[in-house]
Symmetry: C2
Subunit: 150 residues, 2 copies
């Protein structure tokens, strides 16, 4: 009977995580759209590029963001159109390209990131530091397929 209850409790936890995550994502999407005329996937890609000064291969972006190759192709296409990133040939391997933020892209992301942190901080206002830390640790310890370097 205890296993049964544990299973139900974990299911409830999952449903709540899902609900909170979707709500936060939805809020972020809305604000990125109205205040920065961009989308969450674009923001995520730019964040990955911003964190890594030298740019990333399509490949690495795809793995880091856990989305399909084809998906990254489309997002980068649009970011290039917008002048936020550029594809740079890799000497010695004509299959791959390195994607870098342009100066404009870097400046634009920098502004968004500051606000993004403020938004998150406000949305999670009810979470005290030790709770944030505790939950973070727990999430970090989840079995293999679920976590990864962060």
């Amino acid at each position: 009977m205890t296993a049964e209850r544990l299973s139900k409790e974990r299911l409830r936890l999952w449903l709540r995580m899902l609900r909170v995550t979707r709500q936060v994502e939805s809020t972020l999407r809305e604000r990125l759209r109205t205040e920065h005329d961009t989308t969450l996937p674009r923001f995520d890609v730019m964040a990955a590029l911003y964190a890594d000064g030298n740019g990333l291969k399509m490949n690495e972006l795809s793995r880091r963001l856990r989305v399909s190759n084809g998906n990254v192709t489309g997002i980068i296409d649009r970011l290039v159109e917008d002048g936020c990133v550029e594809r740079i040939a890799i000497e010695g391997d004509r299959r791959a390209t390195r994607v870098c933020l342009t100066d404009a892209g870097r400046a634009s992301f920098s502004k968004m990131a500051t606000e993004h942190e403020r938004w998150i901080n406000a949305l999670f206002e009810g979470v005290a530091e030790e709770d944030a830390h505790h939950i973070g640790e727990l999430l970090h310890r989840l079995p293999t397929p679920l976590h990864d370097a962060t």
Copy 2:
């Protein structure tokens, strides 16, 4: 300085939640696809209908799942094609329709739900009952736009 650290800690928490949620969703998608030839959005819609014996209006479905009206329209279209749900006219209001699971849909969902709970239970293996409960409570207490009845 403490506010600064708190903000960073909350941001870290958010990023981890996002990562775990995406990973779990990705696993669920994959299994629903390969083992039940369906998708997560279809599953979510069927879950909402299953929980409510009398069917729901498009309207209610949209609000309950927190997705746009137009989105629900498309998913229901496909579920109707598959014979899982049906649209039933509401007498007295020709604008709205009530969506109900068919017998086949109910049977199909019932099977999936059992497995779904098993999958979740396995994915969250590292979370003890008191932790699940604790985190669940915290998530539940988040400020207004973030939570809702569940």
